[in-house]
Symmetry: C2
Subunit: 208 residues, 2 copies
């Protein structure tokens, strides 16, 4: 039954994402992944051959939502709209895919030794498109003359922090887990900060 195969691979990847996110690659034991997935350890090796290989599969599986967040840059050309949608999308990723975000952060922080070239290339391409778009807004006088790259770094960092550094956030706010309302406040405030900070003219935006 190929269905079982698919299902088990899915279970293992899901379990692995969480544990890799929580502990990091090296600290993760394949036994723990197997346990979390409710399968014997040998099964993990049967499906993925090696721990490294499984890790690569996890990376590929978590990349999707991260890349997806950049779509606003491809769908619109109004700075206020795009930046707001982008920030909200990035915060949503942190909220809904915290493990993906952490696995990635850890991978990048250690110099991306396992990141497949084509994924790295896709990320670079998105960055290129986004920063060109920002530059074009600047050229058209729609916002202050900021350095597009640094603006992106700021947005990436301050949205991902809600996933990657959740421990710290939880300590500071005194809440075990952020509520939907907390994420909304974070997104609202960051949007206002960035738009106002870059001198972007407010336009009619959807109330997402």
């Amino acid at each position: 039954m190929a269905k079982i195969r698919e299902r088990n691979r899915e279970l293992i990847i899901q379990a692995a994402s969480e544990i890799f996110a929580a502990q990091g690659f090296a600290a993760t034991k394949t036994v723990d992944i197997a346990e979390q997935a409710g399968l014997p350890k040998a099964n993990v090796y049967y499906y993925f051959k090696s721990k490294k290989n499984l890790y690569r599969s996890v990376i590929v599986s978590v990349i999707e939502p991260l890349l997806q967040a950049a779509t606003p840059f491809y769908q619109d050309d109004d700075p206020a709209t795009v930046l707001e949608q982008y920030i909200r999308a990035k915060i949503r990723v942190s909220q809904q895919h915290p493990s993906a975000s952490k696995v990635f952060a850890s991978e990048i922080m250690h110099g991306a030794p396992h990141l497949p070239d084509d994924i790295a290339a896709q990320m670079m391409e998105q960055t290129r498109v986004s920063s060109h778009k920002i530059q074009s807004w600047i050229d058209r006088g729609l916002m202050d003359p900021v350095d597009p790259h640094h603006l992106l770094f700021t947005i990436w960092a301050s949205t991902q922090t809600y996933a990657d550094f959740d421990w710290q956030i939880s300590r500071v706010t005194g809440k075990d887990k952020m509520t939907q309302r907390d994420y909304d406040i974070a997104a609202d405030q960051l949007t206002r900060l960035i738009l106002k900070g870059c001198g972007v003219q407010a336009t009619q935006t959807s109330d997402a």
Copy 2:
């Protein structure tokens, strides 16, 4: 000779900071630390008893510059001055102590399992003081009514990113290493973004 003792401990801690930062705790081999420090492995155990213990010592040793960055909040009461000085101090830490920043980021990301309580307490106390000060500026109408915690999260994230995610930054900018000028640009832009974004009135600031 107690001098040798001091010197060797110093060498080991220095080497360990770099390797823990680059690889993470679990992926780091004590042999590599010993090699980097130019000492035999047993020496590392002689001085630090265990890998975990060495790691804790590293954490304590790297905390100093990180805590130091918050001094502007204790020395002044003008929002433009304090925020600018704080952002510049944080960026300087990322530039001058990238390993410290990474070790910490990694520790926090994994739920701070090794962070000594007193250090965590100091960080919380600093956060408390900083956010109270921000709130007082808001109450006095010196800046927009933002959520102080979220503002701090944004500043932390976007300054630390220059150390923690240097790989990504290097890929995007196409530069192997950021120059002094690059750090200055980053600090200038982030300062302007935050001050303007929070509606802080510009005041006479030192040209640091």
